[in-house]
Symmetry: C2
Subunit: 501 residues, 2 copies
C-alpha cells in the first residue's frame, strides 16, 4: 500500500490549490438544464415585491394545492435565509432591474395536479425571463416542479427524515427506488401479514415503517414530483421474511437432516405463491406508482441443492442440474402474479440473463460492474427498457474526489443502434446500507449523488470537469445553507457552514 503522503493529496487537487472556487459562467446552476442561455442583463429579486402566480391561461389554478405548496417552498428557498452567496456575482454586473413576478403556466388541459408522476409523465419545462415578468411554461405540474430528460432513479435502504426527499428535489432526482426490506430486517409493516415486521424487523415498534409513514413518504415525494418505486426482492435476500412467515423459505439440509438454517424462498410450494399473491396485492394498493421492483438478484443455489424435496421437484420438472431453471420457474410465476395487479415491474439483470420470459414493458436494471456496457447492449438488443446503476454504487467509498468518476460516465457508451439507446430510460445511484445509517447517510450521499444527477439530467456535452467543480462546490454550499450536511468536494469553506454535531 502506498505511503500516506500529504503530497499525494495536494496533487489530487486537480490544480485547485486555491480553496476559493472560480466563478462558472453558469454561476451555481446544478444540474445544468439541457438548454440554457445566460443573459448579460441581471435582474434584481426583492422579497418584498416578488410573487409567484398562476398564469391566466394555466390549467392549474389556486385549487391546485401541489403547486401552491411548491410556490411557498420556492419562495422560502429564494428569500428564506438572510444572505445568499450563490448567484450574487451575476447580480453585480450592471444596473439591476426588478423582476417582480414568476408566472407558472401549465399548458395541458389535464394538469395532473392531483395525480402521481409516472414513467410517462411529461416533465419538460421552459423558463423565460423578461423583466418585469418571468414565465415558467410546462405541459403538466411535474415540469413545473423540475423538468426531465432522463429518468433519474435514486436508491436507498434508509429513509429516516424528510430532508432526504427535499434534497432529492434540489438535485432534480425524480424517482426514489425504495429498497424497503432486505436480508437483515423487514421494517415494512404489512397490514395483511403484520407478523413479517413483528418478527422480522430489527425492532417491531421503533424500527418499522407503518402504513402512515409510507403514505407520508409518498405524499412528500409527490409534492416534489418524485415517484416512489418500492422493491421487494425475492427469492434471495429474504432471511428476514422467514422470521415471520413459516414455510416461506427453503429449509437447508446437512446430509439427510435439516440443518436448521434457511435459504431462498421455497419455489416448490403452492403456499409460497398464495402468500406472494396476497402480499403483492397489498403492495399494489399501498404504492400508487405503476412499477414495482421485484429484485431477483444473487440467488444462491447451495441450499436448494441440499434439499431432497427440491431435488425431487427438479427431476419432475426435467430441470436436470440447472438450478437457474428453478429460479426462472419461480420468477415466472411471481411476474404473472404481479402482472395481474396491473403493475409493471423492474428486475435486476440476472432475471434477464437467466432467460425468464418478461413483459415487453419490463425494466431491466443493470448493476453488475466490469462489463455493464455489454449487458446494456444485450438487454436493449432484446428490446427491453433498462436502467443503469453499475457505475454509480455510492456505497463504494474511496479516498479523493470520486464524484469525478461518477460524473465522467457516459451511460449510452455501449454498442447498439439509436433505437437501442432510446431504451435506456434512466440511471440510478445506489447507496446500499451495510455501512450507513442516520449518522452518516446524508454526507455520504451529497454531493456525490449530485454528480450522477447532472450526468443524467444535463446534455451529453456537459463534461467540463473544472466548471462542474466550481458549480458543484457552490451547489453543495447551497445544500449546507439549507441545513443539509453535504460534504466538501475538497479543501474549501462555505460562507454559512453546517451547524451540526
Amino acid at each position: 500500500s502506498p505511503a500516506p503522503s500529504r503530497k499525494i493529496k495536494v496533487l489530487l487537487s486537480q490544480g485547485l490549490a486555491e480553496p476559493v472556487f472560480q466563478a462558472s459562467k453558469y454561476g451555481s446552476l446544478w444540474p445544468l438544464p439541457q438548454k440554457v442561455q445566460i443573459s448579460e442583463v441581471s435582474f434584481k429579486l426583492s422579497s418584498a415585491s416578488f410573487r409567484i402566480v398562476d398564469a391566466k391561461a394555466s390549467s392549474a389554478g389556486p385549487s391546485c394545492s401541489l403547486l401552491q405548496s411548491a410556490y411557498r417552498r420556492y419562495y422560502e428557498y429564494m428569500f428564506g435565509s438572510a444572505k445568499k452567496q450563490w448567484g450574487s456575482k451575476n447580480n453585480r454586473r450592471s444596473d439591476p432591474s426588478d423582476l417582480t413576478e414568476l408566472q407558472v403556466w401549465i399548458t395541458s388541459p389535464d394538469s395532473e395536479c392531483d395525480g402521481y408522476p409516472s414513467v410517462t409523465s411529461d416533465e419538460s419545462y421552459e423558463l423565460t425571463v423578461n423583466q418585469p415578468v418571468a414565465v415558467l411554461k410546462a405541459p403538466t405540474v411535474w415540469g413545473a416542479l423540475h423538468g426531465r430528460i432522463y429518468s433519474i432513479y435514486f436508491h436507498c435502504q434508509i429513509i429516516s427524515y424528510f430532508p432526504f426527499s427535499e434534497t432529492m428535489a434540489m438535485n432534480k432526482i425524480n424517482v426514489f427506488h425504495w429498497h424497503i426490506v432486505d436480508e437483515q430486517s423487514f421494517p415494512y409493516l404489512s397490514r395483511t401479514f403484520p407478523q413479517l415486521s413483528e418478527q422480522g424487523a430489527y425492532h417491531p415498534y421503533t424500527h418499522v415503517y407503518t402504513p402512515a409513514d409510507v403514505k407520508m413518504v409518498i405524499e412528500f415525494a409527490r409534492l416534489r414530483g418524485i415517484r416512489v418505486v418500492p422493491e421487494f426482492d425475492t427469492p434471495g435476500h429474504t432471511q428476514s421474511w422467514g422470521k415471520g412467515q413459516k414455510d416461506l423459505l427453503t429449509p437447508c439440509y446437512s446430509g439427510s437432516k435439516p440443518s436448521g438454517s434457511f435459504g431462498p424462498v421455497n419455489p416448490i410450494l403452492n403456499t409460497t405463491y398464495d402468500f406472494m399473491a396476497k402480499f403483492f396485492t397489498e403492495i399494489s394498493t399501498v404504492f400508487p406508482d405503476g412499477y414495482i421492483h421485484l429484485g431477483g438478484d444473487e440467488v444462491d443455489f447451495t441450499c436448494w441443492k441440499s434439499n431432497p424435496d427440491i431435488q425431487k421437484f427438479m427431476e419432475q420438472q426435467h430441470f436436470g442440474e440447472d438450478y437457474s431453471k428453478l429460479e426462472s420457474f419461480y420468477i415466472q410465476k411471481l411476474l404473472d402474479i404481479v402482472a395481474s395487479t396491473k403493475k409493471g415491474y423492474l428486475v435486476w439483470q440476472e432475471v434477464f440473463d437467466n432467460g425468464v420470459k418478461l413483459k415487453p414493458d419490463t425494466v431491466v436494471h443493470v448493476w453488475i460492474g466490469g462489463r455493464s456496457d455489454k449487458e446494456m447492449s444485450n438487454v436493449t438488443a432484446a428490446g427491453y427498457t433498462t436502467i443503469l446503476s453499475a457505475p454509480w454504487y455510492l456505497d463504494y467509498i474511496s479516498y479523493g474526489q470520486d464524484w469525478q468518476k461518477y460524473y465522467k460516465v457516459e451511460p449510452l457508451n455501449f454498442e447498439g443502434t439509436d433505437e437501442q439507446k432510446k431504451l435506456v430510460i434512466g440511471g440510478e445511484a445506489c447507496l446500499w446500507g451495510e455501512y450507513v445509517d442516520a449518522t452518516n447517510l446524508t454526507p455520504r450521499l451529497w454531493p456525490r449523488a449530485s454528480a450522477v444527477a447532472e450526468r443524467l439530467w444535463s446534455a451529453k456535452n456537459v463534461t467540463d470537469i473544472d466548471d462542474a467543480f466550481n458549480r458543484l462546490s457552490l451547489h453543495r454550499c447551497r445544500m449546507v445553507e439549507r441545513g443539509i450536511p453535504a460534504e466538501p468536494l475538497f479543501s474549501s469553506y462555505c460562507l454559512h457552514e453546517y451547524k451540526g454535531v
Copy 2:
C-alpha cells in the same frame, strides 16, 4: 476494478450475518483496561441512591472544581437517559445488590487539580468494587479522569464543536494534536500578528479561532484530562502565512524574474527569525502544554532552487546543491528559538531523517507509510522518543470494515531493544481535513478512531477481533445515544438511533 457485487459485501461480513451482536464477556467496555476482572456478582445502580464522593483521605476535596464537574458529568452519563442497553445483560445475572457510592481517592499530596495534564502525568488508576462502596484510587486527578498506558494522540484540523472533545474523553484519547493552520487557511487569530488571520483565514470573522475560542478548547480539554498540543508547521505548508506576513515566504523565480508565486518560508532573512521568535513567544504563552509541534514535513525545494538570493546563500554556506542542508539550517534556528521559550517540541520524521540536531527530549512523529517499522527502529536507536501515526491515517477511507485494519496494528512491531520500545510514547490517529468539515467529521472519526484508541490503550494481547466487534458495536451505540453521530460498523441498529438530519 471488481464488479460492485452485493455478494462481496455479505462475504465481507466476517460471518456476522446477524445484525444483533453477540454479548462479549466484557459487556460494552471500550477500550479495555490493561487489567480487568469481571465479577460474577452484579450490582444495581440506582440514580436515587448513587453518589460520587471524595474519599476522606483524598488530596482533592470539594474545592477541586475539575473533579466536581467530572462527577456531575459522569452521573449524567450513568443516569441521564431513560434507558440503557449496554451492560444490562450483566445486570440481569443474579440477586442484584445496591452499589450506593463511588469514592474517589487522589493519593498524591499534589492532586494537580488546577494544573494541566502533561507528558509526565501519572494517569494510572485502580477501580475496586465491593458493595455497597466502590473506590477509584489514582495518584492524580488525571487518573481519576481516565488512566493511562500509552499516550494516545489525536489529530485534527477542525474543531468546531465541543462534543468533539467529549467523544475523545469517552474513548480515553488523552492528547489533542491541533493542526491549527495549514496551506489553505490561517484561522489562528494571533494577538501579535493579527494580520495573519485577517489576510490568511478563509474568512477573517466567521472562520477564525479567537483567543477566547482557544482558551475554551484548552479548558474544556483540561477538564477531561486531555492535553492540547498545537502545531504550527513550517517551513513548508505555509501559503496561508504569506498572505498576512510580507517577505515571510520565498519568492519563486521563473528564469531571471520573480514568478509572482511563493514557496516555503524564506530561510535566509533575519526578519524571518525575528518573526518566528515573536510568534512562538506568543504561542508558548497561549498554549500551556509543555510541547509544541513544529511540523517540518514535505518541504518542496523547487522554489528555493529557483531563487538567485537563495542560490547565493547556499554558496556562502557551502551547502553545495544539498537543499536539505538549507532546510536543516532553518529548522535548527527555529528549534533554538522555541527551546528558548522552555517548550519541548515534536517534529515530523523528515526533520530527523535530514539529520537536524535535536534536543534529547524531542518527539519524532513517524507518519510515512510503507516501512514505518524501519523508521521506528532508526528513530529509537538514535535515542529519541517517538509517536507512530503511519498506520492510522483516518482520512484514507475505503469500503468495508477498515477499523479492523487499524485495530490489528501492533505499534511495537519493529526491530529494536526493550529500551528502544520504551521510547514509543504513543500513537496518533490523524484525520487530515481535505475532504472533511463539520458535515462529515464526526461519523468519519467515530468509531474508527475508537479502534485505534483500544489498540493504544489496552494490553498487547487484546486482539480478539470478534469480541472487539461486539464491544465496539455497543460502544458506538453508546456514542449515538449521547447524540454523537458515530457510524455503524456493519448492518446493525441501536435501540436509540441518531436523530439528526
